[in-house]
Symmetry: C2
Subunit: 336 residues, 2 copies
DNA sequence: TTGTAAGCGTTATCAT
DNA sequence: ATGATAACGCTTACAA
């Protein structure tokens, strides 16, 4: 191991020495405090320039108890909708002068707990958590360390301390399905992920099942892998037998897998096969036919989360529950 | 403003008091040092448990000059290929116990410089920079603060101190174009982005132009906005006039825009219109027809960058230049 | 094996 | 307006 990268940094002491003032004065200059003569300010600034001095965020954070860092926990950065949220968070965070410390968890509960641990020791000023694996008690652990938390897609009961951003899916989805059951005659299929579907998907599946049961209609749940090509292959087989159906898919990419497999089996869309993507992103409009979807503006979700967090950090009282409504966007893969 | 979230944390002192030992002993237990009786270790661990103590990463970092944080600079998290790289970085970083501090820059030179500034004050142990805006001198600024840097897609001459990951595009692209000019007869168009195309795209454009000039063939450069729908609209018009061409597009999404516009204007792909995507991601295979592309495994790029950085952090000598080759993947949008 | 104390680079509260 | 000096919470010689 090398000596570590932080050695040899120029410190406030050296600036003070060079400028011929005390370190307190340098600190005042850095932080734009009052009570510094223009003359000494100049002197100090010159010394700072010449030495190439940069204050240590570490030491500052230790002294002030503020890191100006926000911890963000996400499962994988690989999904488009997660990347969109991250983009919303980072853009907003930057406006407020916060940096983002990122913890990615790969869908394992164990890793999610580790992420919480690291987040706590890393001393972030606040946290945004978008991770299906975590339970209320896990989240409350962070809160116990006085760190304001905003949770996305995970309702926490203790609303005094935790901000929640939830997705308004149930109603829109239920109405959409009900409506379809009234006028359509295809059997509906719900695609879920074999391992770790996650809370959101489970909730939507429940909603799907209940609506069908209430209408006393047949349905089916299909287990898929979380991979485009495996889903594509599965449905290439599937459509050899089944020539008709309405497929509710969790994201654009599985929706595309079903769509491509159907088309290549000579099925017509939407006459034979109808498709809905539950977390619609910009790709739903790019695909052909364009995939009907429940559009969820994850960029907005990220911005909203960060805004809420900033308000909590500023001690403002604020509606700590915000529901982002999803919009049903009927495009080419459904008969509307 | 509230008092700040970091107050009220339990410190090593309180643990020491509760366990009836000195803080040095607690530190030893935390860091698994030798020379601690099993008995006192137990005592201390019990106290830690009971108090819910978590060491402050901040104080530790200040004392050891190591943050176990890696700074990552990217332009926007919104592109799929950037998200993929980020995923590769975060996964690998986690294996080595590093957290990621993320700086996103939105394509502005000014912001990129700010990001460098923040990265330096934030005291990261190392940095991975994927940002077209930054020049060698900007990067060297970080190096001056003894922070090991890996630069992606940006060759830095001073190779003693900076690791470089470059993309092996030129050769593959040039050969592909040459080959096409020999056998194909369509005029080739190169799509670039109006504002801030970035180094990579400029380089590829130069390559495109030179190959054409060498072959004494006609070509055209088309300026587009960095937005699917605007590009789609532009080409919907474009194809009213021009009914034939080979379009070299910078990413999958503009490729899809051209493709959709062409198809919807009654043009056949690839008979009338051929399309190539320069930074192919998994979406190239999902689209129909499947987009021929230069596949760049950005996940691997991220992993490689992080691996290289870790080796630099460990003081190992290492080939500090790695070229990730792109692979020409001929699919349905070109006549092969 | 354990404790003492100096140091990491700041901020902030006193004096002056 | 400026300068000492004590925190901030930890690590790490050095002493015991």
């Amino acid at each position: 191991m090398t000596d570590g990268p932080l050695k040899e940094r120029i410190t406030i002491y050296e600036v003070a020495a060079k400028a011929g003032v005390s370190l307190a004065t340098v600190s005042r200059v850095i932080n734009n405090h009052q009570n510094v003569t223009e003359k000494t300010r100049k002197k100090v600034q010159k010394a700072i320039e010449e030495l190439g001095y940069r204050p240590s965020g570490l030491a500052k954070a230790l002294a002030t108890s503020k890191t100006t860092n926000i911890g963000v926990i996400i499962p994988s950065a690989n999904y488009v909708f997660v990347a969109n949220m991250l983009n919303g968070i980072t853009k907003t965070a930057r406006e407020y002068g916060y940096a983002i410390t990122l913890f990615v968890t790969s869908h394992e509960k164990d890793e999610a707990l580790q992420a919480i641990d690291k987040l706590i020791t890393s001393h972030v000023d606040g946290a945004i958590i978008f991770d299906d694996e975590l339970e209320e008690e896990d989240v409350m652990q962070i809160v116990g360390y006085q760190v304001p938390v905003v949770v996305v897609n995970n309702r926490i009961e203790d609303e005094k301390k935790v901000g929640c951003i939830t997705f308004g899916y149930e109603h829109t989805l239920r109405e959409m399905i009900k409506d379809y059951l009234n006028r359509g005659d295809k059997k509906m299929y719900f695609l879920t992920i074999k391992d770790n579907p996650g809370r959101l998907l489970e909730r939507l599946q429940r909603s799907f099942v209940n609506t069908h049961k209430a209408a006393n209609r047949e349905y089916d749940i299909l287990l898929t892998e979380d991979s485009y090509s495996m889903t594509y292959e599965k449905f290439t087989d599937f459509f050899k037998e089944t020539r008709r159906g309405f497929f509710v898919c969790h994201r654009d990419s599985p929706a595309a897998a079903v769509m491509n497999a159907a088309k290549e089996n000579g099925l017509r869309i939407p006459e034979d096969v109808e498709i809905l993507s539950l977390i619609g992103t910009r790709y739903a409009k790019i695909l052909r036919p364009r995939v009907s979807n429940m559009f969820l503006n994850m960029n907005e979700v990220g911005e909203t989360a960060m805004n809420m967090l900033r308000d909590m950090l500023n001690g403002e009282t604020y509606p700590r529950r915000i529901k982002i409504e999803t919009e049903f966007v009927p495009l080419d893969t459904t008969i509307n």
